[in-house]
Structure formats: structure tokens, C-alpha cells
Amino acid sequence: MAHKEPHPDRDLIQGDWTEKSLVEKLLEPVEKPPPRPWRLVAAVGAALTLAWLYAIFVTFVRGLGTWGINQPVAWGLDVVHFVWWIGIGHAGTLISAILVLMRQNWRDSLNRVTEAMTFFAILAAATFPLIHMGRPQHFYWVMPYPTHMALWPQYKSPLSWDVLAIMTYITISTLFLYLGLIPDLALLRERSRGWRRKFYGWLSLGWTGSALHWQRYRAVYVLLAGLATPVVISVHSVVSMDFAYALVPGWHVTIFPPFFAAGAIYSGFAMALTLVIPLRKWYRLEGVITERHLDWMAKITLASGLGVAYIYLLEIFVMWYSAEPHEWAQQLWRMTGPYAPYYWAMMLINVGLLQTLWFPRFRRNIAWLFIFSILANVGMWLERFVIVVISLSHDFVPGSFNLYFPTWVDWTLFLGTLGFFLLGLALFIRLFPPIAVAEMVHLFHKLRKH
């Protein structure tokens, strides 16, 4: 070309880099000793994971009576946390998949760490239905397999849709994460010695960087992205149908699938911000995770959060306009009942504080962004609490209204999955580069040389 305009995304990689120095920098989390906060995160994560295992042990030995669930609140914090964790997973797949299809260059700095986040979030989520079964040793009954009793799962039930949706989601996001890792594993293989060389050698499947392989790899990667995109949307839609299929006041709404999907993207991006901001600071990655990246993430958080806020208001309208007494009673119970503080805290965060993200001054304030991202996760936790617990506690018959009080086992299971999530991510960062090296090098080449 005759004239050479600077690439519009030129500032996505800031600083003076060559391919070599960029690779050195990006592999630092794996190859150099970890910074001090890493040890703290890993230690806290490990301690909470042990507590988690103990709570699971108590659940298995003494049964579900150790939880706070009762009639009618038979779905307690376990289902709240299942939905919460699944939602958090969504940002990872969204950043990887949808932004690949839209050729958004800024995803390259974020996709690896958010895919890892997705992976551990789904694992954390999947444990809740498993231990909620009461007889977890029979979990395989939900799968279609020929039994001597000639029983099959009931495929008209959203609960069996859920099993397939979650399992497909786990499989696709794991494949996607792994496929993206393969070129980096080959790089790590060439740079390491001893057991690490063997470890990366096995995992890299003997990737050499052959140009023809790259061509096919790229075709499969883009296709997987295209497949993961509808799966993301379908998974949380199916989860919402577990609720919407029932007649419980507060659940029986057709808006649930987009409501849950928007909430998932919102909480997922919030969690991604919560993770990326410290990562960027501790590993001094400001050059590759720039303020522009954080700004874009904040904008997507705002957009999906506005969807959530809109549906909160629409829910009130629908409950009033349906003139269905139990629906309207449910809405009033949410706003004025004993759980009202939870409801209003949710409204304050997800409708009120969210509006700060309209303003560049707040979006560019990293401290506020970090605080808000944690608050948004709390807000989304409250939303699931409102949907699950508050709806169930106030159904049709006043005689069966009942409040729900979580026990220490409920709370330990939750904190334990948080610990497992942190420990998993900490170990992941030590073993695998948290930023996709091959993709960043490719992006660097694209931005600087063309």
C-alpha cells in the first residue's frame, strides 16, 4: 500500500516490545517465581478448599438435613450458587467466542485467563447439583444408559435438558481452552527442562508450528468459537427454564431466558474484572492489558447490566399487569417482606450503582472498577437469592410460607467453592501462561508490521 496509516488498535499493546521480549514478558508468570500476593491467594484458596471438602464430607455422611433447606424452600443456597457460578463462567466463553467472530483484537489479552475462569467456575457450579442430589453416588441416573429397570431420563423435563446443556458446555469450553493452549505448550516445551519438558511435551501433542497445521487449526478454532457462542446463550436459557417451567409465583415468566443470559454476561464480566485488575497489577501487565481493555470490559458490563436492570423493572410491571394475585403478592413480599433488604440491596447495586459506568471518569478509575466488579458479583448473588429463595418461601398457600436460614454447611460449601476457584486459577497461572502468547505475538505482528 502506498500510504501507511497506523493501525486503529495500535495502542492495544503499549510499550517498546519486540516479539522476543513480549514472549519473555508473557511467560514470566510461569517461568519466574510468583509475586508475594500469589502465595497468599493460593494459601487462602487451599485452606478454603479443605473446608469445602470437609463440608461435602459432612453432607455425605449426615445427609441434607445439615443444610438449611426446608419445605417449601427446597432449593436453597446450593441452587443460588449453582446458577451464580454458571453465570460467571459465561464471560470467558463470550470473550473467546463472540469476540473472535467479531474480530475484536482486544480479546487476545483477555481470552486465556477468562477461559480458565470459565473452566473453574463450571467445575465449581457442577458440584452443587451433584451434592444436592442427596444420593450423589447415583448421579449417573440422569444420563441415558440402558438399565435393568428399563428406565430412561425424561427428556420433556428441563432438568434433563440442564444435564446435557451443562455437560456440553463443560466439554466445549475445555476443548476451546485446550486448543488455544496447544501452541503455547509447544513454546513452553522448547523453553523448559526436566519433568516440565515432558509435561508440556505430552500436552502439546507434538505441535511444531507447521504452517499447514496452523491453517487447519485456525479453521477448527473459528468453528469452535461459532459453536460455543450459541451454547453460551443456550446454557443459561436452559438453566432459567428449570425455573420458568414451574408454576411458582416469580418464576413463571417468559422473559426468563434472556433475563438469565444477560445476568450471566453481566456477572461474568464483573468477575473477569475482579480477576484481571489484580493480575495486571501483580504481574505488571499494564502494557498488554491496557486501560482500553478495562474500559471495553466496563462498557460490556454496563450494557449487559442495563439488560438486567430493564428486566427487573419489567418484572414488576408484568406482575402488576397480569393481575394475578399470587404474582403480585410475590412482588410485594419481595419489596416489603422479611427479605426486603436483600431485594433493595440488589436494586441498589444492579440498577443504581451500575449507572456510574456511563461516565468515563468512573470507568477509567481502576479502583472504582475493581470495587464495582465485586459489588456486581454480590448484586448478582442477591438476584439469584431473590429468584430462588424469596420466590419459594412465598408460594400459593399461606400455611406453607416458610423462611429459609442457611446453616454453616451451606456457607462453607459456598466459601469452599470460592477457595477452589482461586486455588485452581492460581495453579493454572503457574503452569500455563495467563495471556495467550501465540495470539499476542500474532496480534503484535499484525499491529506493528502491517
Partner: protein, 174 residues
Amino acid sequence: MLYGIMAYFDAPERLLSALRVLREEGYRQFEALAPGPLEGLEEALGQRRDEAIPWAAFAFGVLGLGLGLFLQIYTSLDYPINAGGKPLLGWPAFIPVTFEITILTIALGIFLLLLYMTGLPRAAHPAVLARGYPGVLVDRYGIFVYVTDPRFHPTATRSLLESLGAQVEEVGGG
């Protein structure tokens, strides 16, 4: 034993034009190595665009669709339950499971197909033995000419590659 000759280029454009020259000279057994996907590679290798993967994905999709529907129709007929008065084969209720199984089949299928087409997993590759090999994973572009190529000649091939602007390294002892 000599495995081949590795040539290193510092820009993808040089690699692509060197590939064209090698083909025109009659070389057939060589491989290009790069740190990322290259535009215009098929054309430089004289190949048509490879559409095998998208078509295979479509075929896997049809297979998965059939599997998903078969699973639900078969199990519904094998163990009929009147659930909420819905028709026994109420197809709208079958959409989510069919959809998920379709996607799952495509994803697993194309992943395995990728491994098959690329010959991975692979325990050893001669190009990896080259001293400069780690560079092609970072910022260099390589061509590995196998010693088994009918046109291979230790000095002629070497000087041809050098004339194309490459640094050249012999891989494996002489």
C-alpha cells in the same frame, strides 16, 4: 544421519515467496513453520483452499441432530410417560437436547478430525532438533526440506535457500 535442511526467514512474505520458488524448482517434501497463521499460504503451496473442515463439521452436525432426535424418540417410546398431558413425541420439548447433542458432536468431531488431519499427537519431528527451532515459535519463519525429497542436494539446496535470503542450518549429523 541427516534429516534435512532448515532455512530461517525473518518475514512471512519472504517465506511465502521462497515456498513458491521451491515448488517451481520441483521440490515436494518440505514443510513451512511459522509462529502463527499465514495469509496466502495455500496459494504459495499451489493448493486450493481446504474446505474439508467446514464440510466435515456440517456432516457431524447432521449426525448429531440424528443422534439427539433418535435418543429422545427411542427412549420416549421405550418408556412412555404421560407427563402433564403432553403428546408422547412432543417435538418442541426435544429442541434443547437435540441442539446440545448436535453441537457436542460437531465439537468433538472436528477436534478429532483436526488431530487426524495434522497427524497429531506426534512424538518426534526432525525439525524440532534444529538449534534455531525455538525461534520459529516466536519471531522467525522456517522451511524444513526433507532429505528424502527427490530434488534434495546438500549443497545445491542449501545455496538455493541462501539465495532466497535465508539463514540455513543442517539438521541431524552429516
